[in-house]
Structures are given as C-alpha cells and as structure tokens.
C-alpha cells in the first residue's frame, strides 16, 4: 500500500531523512517511532506529497507520488500533528469542504459524518465555528474529515495527542476497522505502549536513519518496546 524506497530529504546541509526504506502492506498498522527531530514528520509529509524530497521514491498503491501526486492523494488521508483547520468555517462547513474536494456524494457524506461524528462525540458541536473548538475537538474533526472519502491509506502524525481516553479508544478501533477492510495505517507516535499494543509493524528512526523495522514481535523480542527504544537510543548516542 505504501512503499518508501531510499528516501532522502535534506534541509540545507542537514540530512533530515537518510535513505529510509519502508513497506506497509494492506491490512497493516505501521507505527513510526523516534525522538523529537528524528525525521518522522518529514518522512510523513513526504509521503503525503506536502514536502518535496531530494531522492528516493514513494509509491501509494503502486502509484509514484512524484509522478502522480493527485492520484496518490485521492487514495489516502493525512492528519498532521497539529490540527490547524480553517477556523472561520463551522465543523459542517469544513467537512462539506473536504467532502467536495474528494467528490463524496451528499448521501454518503451525511451517513459518514453522522456515523463517525457520533462515534467521536463531536456530531452535536459541528454547527460551531472551528475557531471556538478545543485542541481535542479540532483533532476529532480532522480525523472525521480524513475518514469521509474512505481512504485506502491513512497517514497520521501523532493522532492521539489531545484526544480524551474514550475518543483515543474509538480512533484505535476505527484504525483497526479500516485495516480489516483492506486499508493500511502509517502513523507516528511517542506513546510506546500504544504502538506496542496497536501496531502490526514498527520502525524506529534516529537522526534520519532507520535503526530497526519489522513486526512488533520482531522489534521488541522478549523486552518491552520502551526498553528496546531506550537501548537503541543509548547505543547510538
């Protein structure tokens, strides 16, 4: 579903992502872990076509993001680490805007907004302007908007930040549901317990380089993910 091949991204002299290669298959939840500034968000933004990269290739469902970014964007949904949405629109206004862009019919969008809106407990607040929302409410609207066109791939940057425990649980269930229907999830997180429990595959990145990747069981072995992560950090300091 998502194939990253030897991705390189530099900012001036600094190498933010250094020959990173990953493969996320349909039905998988793939966790991306690393310390602050490790290159997670840069990799994620490159996968979404937001950030041009220096070399390498990224394929979404077999389509190159370099050659056909629009086709790739139609297949996926992206949620950034900070949900900066259009504050002058109401929740409904924003969701209608996103649904229009992705060509979601009136009936489909009504059904999906109602379903996911109620699951995330945001439906009743959709008539308010986004500017009046809390961080968590904005995050819920961002997640809801990402689900509107039923993407095959979801790329999420720190999706659980700001969510209440119930909403976080709902999002995890939705992620699993999407994977069971043949979709895939690629997300970054600092919450190692969540990654350990939720992910089928995990990759750990440090200073732009991939340290380890594989199934959750392969990566953690007999230890906890936290112990493995700290051990790897110490080894490379």
């Amino acid at each position: 579903m998502l194939r990253i091949e030897s991705l390189v991204k530099t900012y001036g002299a600094k190498i933010a992502v250094d020959h990173v290669s990953l493969h996320i298959r349909p039905g998988e939840i793939y966790g991306f872990i690393g310390h602050n500034g490790a290159g997670k968000t840069t990799t994620i933004k490159a996968c979404c076509g937001i950030l041009p990269f220096d070399s390498g290739e990224i394929y979404i469902d077999g389509v190159s993001i370099k050659e056909n970014p629009l086709e790739c964007n139609r297949k996926m949904a992206y949620i950034p680490d900070n949900p900066d949405l259009y504050e002058f629109l109401t929740g409904w206004g924003y969701l209608n805007f996103v649904a229009d862009i992705y060509g979601v019919s009136r009936q489909d969008r009504q059904e999906r907004i109602e379903k996911y809106g109620n699951m995330l407990d945001i439906y009743s607040s959709l008539s308010q302007t986004i500017g009046s929302y809390s961080h968590g409410m904005k995050q819920k609207v961002a997640i809801l908007s990402a689900l509107l066109h039923q993407p095959r791939l979801m790329i999420l940057d720190e999706p659980f930040v700001g969510l209440d425990p119930v909403a976080a649980h709902t999002v995890k269930s939705l992620m699993r549901e999407l994977c069971q229907e043949g979709g895939a999830i690629f997300f970054s997180t600092h919450v190692l317990e969540v990654a350990e429990k939720l992910c089928d595959q995990i990759a750990i990145i440090r200073q732009g380089k991939l340290l380890v990747s594989g199934t959750t069981q392969e990566v953690r072995g007999n230890s906890s993910l936290e112990e493995v992560f700290l051990e790897l950090e110490e080894q490379h300091e």
Binding site: R74, D84, L85, F88, F97, D100, I101, Y102, R106, T129
Partner: protein, 529 residues
Amino acid sequence: MNKSLFQIQFRSLWNTLFGKVSRTKKRRGITKVLMGLLAIYVIVCIFLSSGFLFYEMAAFLVPAGLSLLYFSVAGLFSLLLCFIGTIFTVHSQLFRAKDNEFLLSLPIRPSSVLLSRLFLLMLMEVILLLPIILPAIFVYGAFAAITPLQILFLIAGCVLLLCLSTALSTACGWITTVLSLRIRHHNFITVVLTLLLFVGFYGAFFGLQNYFSDLLIHGHAIQSALQIALPPVYWFGQLCLGNASALFPLLLWCLLPFGGVCLLLAKTFWKLALSSPAPSKQKSTAAAKDLRSPLQTLLFKEFKRFFTLPAYMLNTTVGCIFSLLFSAFLLLNQNALELMFQEAIPETLIFPICMGILAFFSVLNNASSVALSLEGKSLWILKSMPVPPPTVILAKTLPSVVLNLPFLLLNSIVCWITFSLSLPQGLLLLLIPQLLNVLSALSGVVVNLHLPNFDWVNETLLIKQSASSIVAALSALGFLLIPGLLYLPLYGMISAELYFSVWAFLFLAAILGFWHYLKTRGAQRFNHL
C-alpha cells in the same frame, strides 16, 4: 526581560513586513538588490509627493508670515496619518494578538507585555510620521532659516504627537474590543464603523484641494482659530518655531491622554486580552451539502474567509468603495459635471480621463496578494488534497476579480451614459478596467507566490503591510502608470480609441502570460511552499 520582549515584537513586525527567510532558503543576491531598489523607489516616491505638497504650502504661507500655520498643518497631517495608519492594527495587535495567552502565562508583568506592544505601535507610527515631517522641515528650510534649537523642539514635538496619536488609536481599539466582547455581530459592527471612517477619510481627502484653497485665502483667520480648535497642533506649530513656552501646554495635551490611556490599559488589558469575543449566532447549517466541484468549494472557502475578516474585506476593496462613491457622485452631479467638462476640459480628454479613473479603481483592489499567505498554518490542507495547484491558484485569483467586477461595470456604464461616449469608447471603457482587474489579481498571486509569509501572528498586519501586499499594490499601479505616462507625449498624435485598443491587446497578452506562468512555474512553486 523587557529587552527580549521588545526584540520579539520587533522581529514579529519585521517578519510580517518582509517575510521570514529560513536559514536554508537565503534570498539570492539579485532578489536582495531588487528588493532594495524597490524599497528606495517607494521611499523616494512617498517623500517626493509629500515634499511637493509642502512646497506648495510653504511657497505661500512662509512669505505671508504664516509659518505657525505651516507647522500646525504638518503636525495635523502627521497626527492624522499616524492615527489612521494604526487604528485598524490596535485591536488585533494589542488585544487580539495570538501570543497574548502565551506571554501572559509567563512570569512577566502584564504591563511589560503591554509596553512592548505599545512600543511596536509607536514604531509603526514613526514610519508613518517621517514621510510627513522630514519633507516639511526640508521644504521650510528652503524658505526660512532653521536654528538647531528649532530642530530639537521639532523632535520633541514629534515624540509628543506620537504619544497623542497612540493614545487616540489605542482608545479606539479599546472601544472596539469592548464592543466585540459584548455584541454578537461584532464583525458587522467593525465593518460598518471602519466604512464610516473610510468615507470620512476619503471625503476629507477629496476635499483637500478646497481646504488648501481655504488655507491660502483665510490663512490668518485659521491660524488664530487653531489655538481653540486644535490646541495640540497649534502648540506643536509654536514649538517648531522655537517658542519654548509652547512645550508645557503641548506636554499637557499629549501626555495627559497618553497617561490616561496607559492607566486604562493597565487596569483592563489583562482581562480584555484573555476574554473571548461573544460567539456569533450561527445559522443552523447542520446538513451535508450537495456535491460541488473542487473549484466551487475552494471559492466558497475563499469568500467565507473574506467575509469573516473585516480587515481583509476593507483593506482589499478600497477600489470598490471608490467605484461606488464615484458612480454615486456622477449620478448625483450630472449637470455640474457636464458644465465642468465642457468648459475646463477638452472633449478629447474626457474619455482618457474616465479611463484613467476607472483603471485606477480597478488596480486598487488586491485581495489576491495575500490570499496564499492567509492560509498560514493550515496550508497543509490544500497541499494534501487531490486538487491540481492551478485550481488552487485560480481559486485564489477569482474572488478579487468577482468582487470588483460589478462595481467596475457600474462605473463604466455610468461614465458611458454621463459623458455620452461613442460606442468604441464605451466598449473600451467596459473592457480595459476589467482586464486590469484580472491582471492585478493574477499579478497579486504571482507576487504572493514569491513573497509568501505563513508564520504570521497578526493577520491584519499581514493584509495591510506585508511585503507581498505592498509589492503587489505597486506593480498594479505600474500597469496603470505605464500606459498613462506613455499617452502624454502621444496625445493629439494618435486617437485615444486606437491607443487604448492596443493596450487592451497588451493587457490581454499579459494576462495570458501571467496565467501560463502560474499554471507552470507557479504551480511548481506552490508545491515547494
């Protein structure tokens, strides 16, 4: 701590004006040189136009012994310009700044935050004051001797006038903020109040010639009436003439209001800065809408943003306001105008003059020049969506065109009928302002693509004073000035219809050129934003 606060405020102003240049994307030498040349050109233009105005005044007032009136008028101009230039910024800069909560959460006294914001406001006023005061003093020097003491007093007077204008604009900003906290439709109220101020300002501006004539005819009477009517500018004038005794009354007139406003702010700033405006009552839109095309929905979003930001609405539609006022003026003064044109202006000039006026109105609106920058931190939405960049760019261009179209059309029709223009003239009058409208909208987006600023804290400053909005406004004026200036030597040698037909083709070619650029290189640039 205060030094750091001032530095941050200054950097924020700098970044808004000139855009943040990242360490990895340093501006190239040629860009720096071009920007420098442009800045020099703008400064020279402003100083020259101000200088000419003061020269005309000084030539009459100084020899007639009305130097006091000369300096009082200079003081009045400075005061008004500083007040009008900052009044729209105070509300957003002082009370609604996005970093207020953050700064007030730090162990800093609110008074320090307040002082740093007032410092920035006064800095902006200095930028506005210099183009008035410097030419005024230089021109005066050409007619009379100036002593070093006079220069010293002039500087002191300017500082005091800055305090007064800060007090006035801050008081207005305070009232707006208090109203916005209590009134639900505060956006509407802000727009109405600002429009009234606009109409007042431009009414005064258009009446400048009459005031100027009055000044020359009734100079002595006005000079003696100033002490009662406008004491601060009267005492400023006295101080500039070297009268030391004027310092005390001027101190009182300027520092008392400034102190009062500071006291008011000290008591209320914390509360006002942390209060949220009364939420607007939303109509129930709790429904999924019918599917629209990406362009339609992007346009809807752009218009929605336009109508929810009073500063955006007012600062980018000055041409529309002028157009409306001009149409009303023509319709209400039809007979007077006919007489005026028949007697004073040759008939062959009526059409070019109408064209010039309408073209001027069409290039005044530039909503597109900050349309991309206004995306700010939400730019990721547009970039992650399956929408081709040319569609996004078109959606950024069209609102400016659509908003101006009816006003310009109305103007063209009213001019055509009022001055009984011929069919070719009327058609050209319909066509060229609209072509310029499209051209300035497209060039605005081009400029914004090259001078984007997504790290703004204050959208009002971005709209009013960012590099993109200033450069776009100047380039649009270029589209007007080049044909206008070239016409002067050709007047009488070539028919106006033929001349403007050629320009219509040139504008059309420029529009196609700009659009081609936006679709190709512009789209690439958008991808790299």
